[in-house]
Symmetry: C2
């Protein structure tokens, strides 16, 4: 398990810190705001009120021993940049920083952030790709035209086999069923005789056009 | 193709509107801020300066004829809620609304939003899951413990076959290769003899623990 420090407890920082803690990692959450620090403290390993642009405070917190640092400070861009510089200077091997806008993102890359996240911008592109496929619960863009989509089995699918649905290799839709998640069971690369059941979660792959055509026809 | 109206051109709204337009949909972008409207106008079908809480203006814009409406207004929560109510009242079949916080999200659900998006919160959980797998480019959480991850082939994989890597059914890692994206070619459910090449993009599935164990060992 990892030692992770999360600096800045806005919506992104809180979600990240509490999720990592639930996944079993050691999470130190840092913010200047005492009320926020107290609020999060049951949901992380430790929560500390501190100014993360203060190098000696970061040293005292043992930041140099952390595997991962995340700077999730938003509106105060200079604080975000300075805190990122300090984490790298103190030797944190992997630092993720959240950017407020494109220029902020460029600065963070230049000063050494290993990964820059733009939550609002990335949510916009993700929702755009899920949109034609309104039942899609999640989606990975493999190329600009090809994707992997997760969705709950549509009524049209239920009770039919993969070959009856004309999915899979050579099937007329050009869409494959990569995986079925049923209750707690995972069926990886199900074969053509597999019957789709109600409440199955399916992972499909195909050209975005083909995915859209299939899901539109299935309604 | 869809007729989509995007109301509120912050980072989420701009990313969504411009991505949908690039995907070939008809996009009307609306904001009260003239400068923002002018800035986006080359990148969407039409951009209009308007107050989206004004029902007669929405009627004039022909909102009733749109397939999808997205309310991407952030800080002005009452505007976000009122605009969402109006889109549903005018008969837009599918309305997505962005929420500022949990209470805002609950209100939007209650007043009829078909889908509520929390970009910062969702980015937090997504980054948390990608974190142990730092090379992962994207990730779908199929269940709280099982996921599908997209990544570029690690040097450790390159030149080996799927069976040599002990991936796939019965392999000791408990991780399957669902898909390989190579140049422009997509290999769905590759067989065990497939050799991984440099620059392959692979889609893996497995328990999060197993994915992490594999990727840690591969480094
Ligand atoms: N120097 C600092 N040290 C520690 N915490 C800081 C510092 N500067 C700002 N913060 C904290 O960062 C947190 C997040 O910043 P802010 O709320 O501006 O970001 P945001 O972009 O609105 O966040 P989100 O979009 O994730 O909700 C705030 O709670 C703030 O107190
Ligand atoms: N009644 C309204 N009609 C149209 N546009 C509106 C209305 N009220 C607010 N807006 C616009 O909504 C846009 C987005 O709102 P705001 O910037 O507060 O959200 P945000 O949460 O910071 O956005 P993001 O996180 O996506 O960057 C602003 O450009 C604002 O002008």
């Amino acid at each position: 398990k990892r030692q992770v420090v999360v600096i800045g407890l806005g919506r992104f920082g809180v979600s990240l810190a509490t999720t990592l803690y639930k996944m079993g990692h050691d999470v130190l959450a840092v913010d200047t705001n005492e009320r926020i620090v107290q609020g999060i403290s049951p949901e992380v390993t430790h929560a500390v009120q501190a100014d993360a642009t203060n190098e000696s405070i970061l040293r005292e917190l043992g930041i140099a021993n952390f595997d991962v640092g995340i700077v999730a400070i938003g509106t105060e861009i200079e604080n975000s940049v300075l805190s990122t510089i300090l984490l790298k200077r103190l030797g944190v091997p992997y630092v993720i920083a959240k950017a407020e806008n494109n220029l902020h993102g460029i600065i963070l890359e230049k000063i050494g952030a290993d990964k820059v996240v733009h939550p609002e911008r990335e949510a916009g592109t993700r929702v755009a790709h899920e949109l034609p496929l309104v039942d899609v619960m999640d989606y990975i863009s493999v190329s600009p035209r090809y994707g992997v989509a997760m969705l709950t089995a549509l009524p049209y699918f239920v009770g039919k086999t993969i070959s009856q649905l004309e999915l899979g290799r050579g099937g007329r839709w050009g869409v494959a069923v990569l995986l079925i998640y049923r209750g707690k069971e995972v069926i990886v690369t199900p074969d053509r005789a597999e019957t789709i059941k109600a409440n199955d979660v399916v992972i499909l792959s195909g050209d975005d056009e083909n995915l859209e055509r299939l899901l539109t026809a299935a309604k």
